[in-house]
Amino acid sequence: MNQHLVIQAVVAGALTFSTALFAADPAAGKAAWNAEHAQTDGSPARSCVTCHGQNLTQAGRHVKTGKAIEPMAPSVNAQRLTDSEKIEKWLLRNCKWTIGRECDANEKADFISYIKTQ
């Protein structure tokens, strides 16, 4: 299935329809959020927490550029998870930069469902 559609479905809260196809699991998303990944370029291991922090209701800071990152939690930042193109772009970049590869549809759905609960 088209990954873009999957993300739109998850964002739109259509989880009841999609669970059969892709198990969007907030607990798995949380575990993946905290999982550390060794880096091949000599940088210290990183996870989503490295830049976004463990508490999604608080702002983060990009470990490399120092850029402030607005909170990811929709409960404090209503802009989050409202723009599917933006979600696609950042999941692509951040999976590649942190995990070292693109995330598959299930992994993306897990991340989004975790962020939604915050």
């Binding site: 550029t65 120092g66 850029k67 193109e85 772009k89 692509l92 970049r93 951040n94 590649k96 930069w97």
Partner: protein, 200 residues
């Protein structure tokens, strides 16, 4: 003996010439002063590097760092930065773009690059990077490695930059150049956090 005296003379003359060149470059800043307009008691500065005008570029690039004006690198350097491969390893981060955005931003940067700019400060960035010697290998061009940039910042102690938590690196233009976002880089708008104004 005579030989070493001759060498000493050559070296001395060489150093004096370098000094003279240094003075000539310092005077550039005085020219900038002359360009300022005064109005209602405020000193207004004109952009010496054309401000960013492309919305896609502004939005996409400033989500991670200051949207550096196109006039800070020559077109050939922007072309290197903007390939898909280069974007996926963008100075140590992944900055991949959709193909539509990549082409639009790349065209914008190229059309407004330092070597195509009317502003004299921009033109200095084009000349500075021409031989591209420091960018041999797979390293991408950097504004902070251009000869003009290096010359303009060579007297700044590193404790004001990398040793300054509010600055961190020379790539954070706006931390000291308070007009950077608007393309104003003259020294009168410099305010180094924790230090203050900088007189060249």
């Amino acid at each position: 003996m005579n030989n070493s005296k001759r060498i000493l003379t050559i070296v001395t003359v060489g150093l004096l010439s370098l000094g003279a060149v240094g003075v000539a470059f310092s005077e550039d800043d005085d020219d900038e002063r002359g360009k300022q307009k005064r109005g209602s008691g405020w000193v207004q500065s004109r952009a010496d590097v054309a401000p960013v005008t492309n919305a896609t570029y502004g939005k996409e690039c400033s989500s991670c760092h200051m949207a550096y004006q196109p006039g800070l690198l020559p077109a050939s350097a922007w072309a290197q930065v903007m390939t898909s491969t280069a974007l996926s390893n963008h100075y140590g981060d992944d900055a991949s773009l959709s193909e539509t955005s990549r082409v639009e931003i790349s065209d914008y940067l190229s059309a407004n690059a330092a070597d195509r700019s009317a502003q004299t400060r921009s033109q200095a960035f084009a000349v500075a990077d021409a031989p591209n010697a420091q960018n041999q290998g797979d390293a991408l061009p950097r504004i902070t490695k251009t000869r003009y940039f290096v010359r303009k910042h060579d007297e700044i102690p590193m404790r004001f930059v990398t040793g300054n938590s509010e600055v961190g690196s020379f790539s954070q233009c706006h931390q000291c150049h308070r007009g950077a976002a608007n393309g104003v880089y003259n020294e009168h708008q410099v305010n180094i956090p924790g230090h203050g104004a900088w007189a060249d």
